[in-house]
Symmetry: C2
Subunit: 204 residues, 2 copies
């Protein structure tokens, strides 16, 4: 997917992303990363001193490329609020559909190690919930939507976007008799369904 003649360090990181994100820290073997990068195992330690450091690089990538894109849709946005919600939901579901393992990876690792290990990454990711809260409050004050706790609205919306992705194996089996196409169709239609669900709930 990237350039053919990338340097070794980059090749390692790309391979590490694939393995770590799919298998998690505990499930990842340095040997597998080396194989996938087409280099020797000890080269991993030459570029990244330890497994932990390599993992850290992968986690940082995963988190910073996911969290901020979401919230930043909101900041500096001139759409009316319902249009904003439709764009947000559609874009977010699209992102997680294209990177289905990343949410599970982030949530799994953060739950295992606790936020303390990642608090630097999390804080430096540029997430600014206040901008979101402010926008909601403005809409409420203007009488455009029903009163609601902005945090609740945010978690509701993100939860509805992410859960069907991380719950895929169960959802596909239980709801769609393990039919992959039915599941994909279901997910695709959520881009509109979730937005309308949210809008219906808060509109006056």
């Amino acid at each position: 997917m990237s350039a053919e003649k990338e340097n070794t360090e980059e090749k390692i990181l790309e391979a590490a992303k694939e393995v770590f994100i799919e298998k998690g820290n505990d499930g990842t073997r340095m040997q597998e990363i080396a194989d996938k990068a087409g280099i020797n195992k000890s080269l991993l330690h030459y570029y990244y001193r330890s497994k932990e450091k390599l993992f850290g690089a992968v986690f940082k990538f995963a988190f910073t490329h996911f969290a901020p894109n979401i919230i930043n849709i909101i900041t500096d946005n001139n759409d009316d609020f319902f249009t904003l919600i439709r764009k947000f939901v559609s874009l977010y579901i699209d992102i997680v559909m294209k990177n289905p393992f990343i949410p599970m990876f982030i949530l799994g690792e953060v739950n295992k190690k606790g936020p303390s290990t990642f608090v630097n990454v999390i804080k430096s990711a540029g997430i600014n919930p206040q901008a979101f809260r402010d926008r909601i409050q403005k809409e409420i004050d203007s009488g455009n939507i029903k009163p609601i706790d902005p945090n609740q609205l945010l978690i509701n919306t993100i939860g509805m976007c992410i859960f069907p992705i991380i719950g895929r194996p169960i959802i596909q089996v239980v709801l769609f008799d393990d039919n992959k196409l039915e599941y994909i169709k279901f997910l695709e239609s959520r881009k509109k369904e979730v937005a309308e669900f949210v809008i219906n709930s808060i509109k006056k």
Copy 2:
């Protein structure tokens, strides 16, 4: 929490639940389970032949004690639909609050191994989404609620209940400045907030 003089097999399973559910299959060491059970490592293999088998017992427990309780609230229920939703959401959030690691455990493992490994457990868990779909359809046909795809409504509702639990480390840091009490309060109020959010969205 259980009887003092439980037999060894039971002690092992209890210890295994704690470790597996908190650390996942890859992160679990047989030694840790033995220590927690207060017995020797080789006794684990005497009662459960392998780590895989022991894991299987834990997963089966976790899944069967979680999934069905949810859906069965719906079956054979005589409440009006909005009361049903309020009960469902409140009970479900209460369950996951009391067992916060189980959703992450189930989702993590199912995503890692794929549903094929657990398809027996999943299918034998007694989940019956059709009963739920039928109930929704009845409400729509009766004109009590707006038309909506029952699957979408189900995933929306469950997603809003589970996501704040598995996303806790991030949510607590980003939204509540790592204030534990604020997070708990937020979760507690969701028992009502989520139900009203759903009801607002589907009521006519």
